[in-house]
Symmetry: C2
Subunit: 243 residues, 2 copies
């Protein structure tokens, strides 16, 4: 990598750093090419040497942020013993919420309308990160499946219900796992996402003063619906003992 490429990478990084700073400090509207250039001592049009368009910059930001979210969530999950399934699900869910509250603008960028007039590219702005999220949840669902299977048969799912890309990867990573388990993973995702999204966008604050308690109760109810609970988590060698 020559000097030129090094400078280019450095400038690109600086643009992204300032964009992130403006995003967290002034909200999505503060992310403007002109403002970034102003802070860097450059003209706004100069940024077009590094990003084809503003949307390209936003897409890059989404990718970075989504990746950092997954790093954090996966780390939290892996900090819990592999056989403590309920604990791993709890860790994932709590990490997801804490990250979202700590990075509300990032959450909006990933899951909401990123910024004014942004149009995501085909296939989504961060396909790999989304796939990682889906696979991470599928791993949790797969671990819980032996316990939860009996309760999850109300709807029959086929592999054809899912995108070929996802189905293939899941079948490779988790052979023998039925498609209903993938549906369960997506539903677990939705269940966590619902309360977090309401909270980040301020819809819970007007109703309850303790969203954390609400969210924790939801996670416990999720574990119960999976026939997992703290007892099962602590004694994974003897499932279906309590109740």
């Amino acid at each position: 990598m020559g000097r030129r490429a090094r400078l280019r990478a450095q400038t690109t990084a600086e643009i992204k750093a300032i964009a992130l700073k403006h995003l967290s400090e002034g909200g999505p509207d503060a992310v403007s090419l002109r403002a970034i250039g102003r802070e860097m001592g450059m003209s706004g049009s100069a940024i077009y040497s590094y990003f084809d368009t503003r949307d390209a910059l936003i897409t890059t930001l989404i990718n970075d942020i989504y990746t950092s979210l997954l790093d954090q969530v996966e780390t939290a999950r892996d900090a819990v013993a592999r056989d403590d399934i309920a604990g791993r699900i709890l860790a994932w869910g709590q990490a997801l919420r804490l990250w979202s509250l700590a990075n509300p603008e990032g959450f909006r960028l990933i899951y909401g309308d990123p910024v004014a007039g942004y149009h995501a590219p085909a296939g989504g702005p961060a396909p790999e990160a989304a796939k990682r999220a889906c696979l991470g949840l599928t791993e949790l669902a797969a671990a819980a499946w032996p316990y939860a299977e009996a309760t999850q048969a109300s709807t029959d799912h086929q592999w054809s219900d899912f995108s070929p890309g996802l189905a293939d990867i899941v079948r490779k990573h988790f052979p023998g796992l039925p498609p209903a388990a993938v549906a369960l993973a997506l539903r677990m995702w939705g269940r966590m996402h619902g309360l977090i999204s309401l909270e980040v966008y301020g819809h819970l604050a007007t109703q309850t003063g303790d969203p954390a308690k609400l969210y924790h109760a939801e996670l416990l109810d999720l574990l119960r619906s999976l026939e997992l609970d703290v007892e099962h988590a602590r004694h994974p060698e003897m499932p279906r003992t309590s109740t």
Copy 2:
């Protein structure tokens, strides 16, 4: 109401109608005072006679849309017999999803970032509609409470966990209902909101081709977690019979 006031109301309605049209046709960015004025044969600044600022117009739109959403959801719920609790919850949930998919821009307006640079007023843009939503869900939770109570004791909730305004109204409308039931209502809200939000924002389309099935399975799982199911719904006079 004199002629003047009548004209004023008519112009105000036209502004809102065109704004809604632009919103659904061209997305949030198409809602601009100048564009609205252009279509009405007025200058953009003329609108300031009717709305103090663009955000005020947006707030009004949110109110109208949120109200129409609740009209629809409540109507769907009330089309089901009062003793068919599971059916009423299903109807509410399905109506919520169908409305959201039919009015994605409206959904974004209510639950996401409305438009570029919009800042909601204190107390939220549509406090009454939000309260209606919360009360409607609380009614469902209250009806399901006799069945669900035994399973919902994992976390203890107090009335002080909720905003005084909500707590007072709930205690007036549903005397004897414990605070945990309000928490259940909020969690039901979150559970419906999660998958719908992911779907509206396009995060499910890349994973599954059949979000409707996924959502329906989630609703059934919700009913199961409330110890309600289709049997209970059809024979409300004999609860806890099956399983």
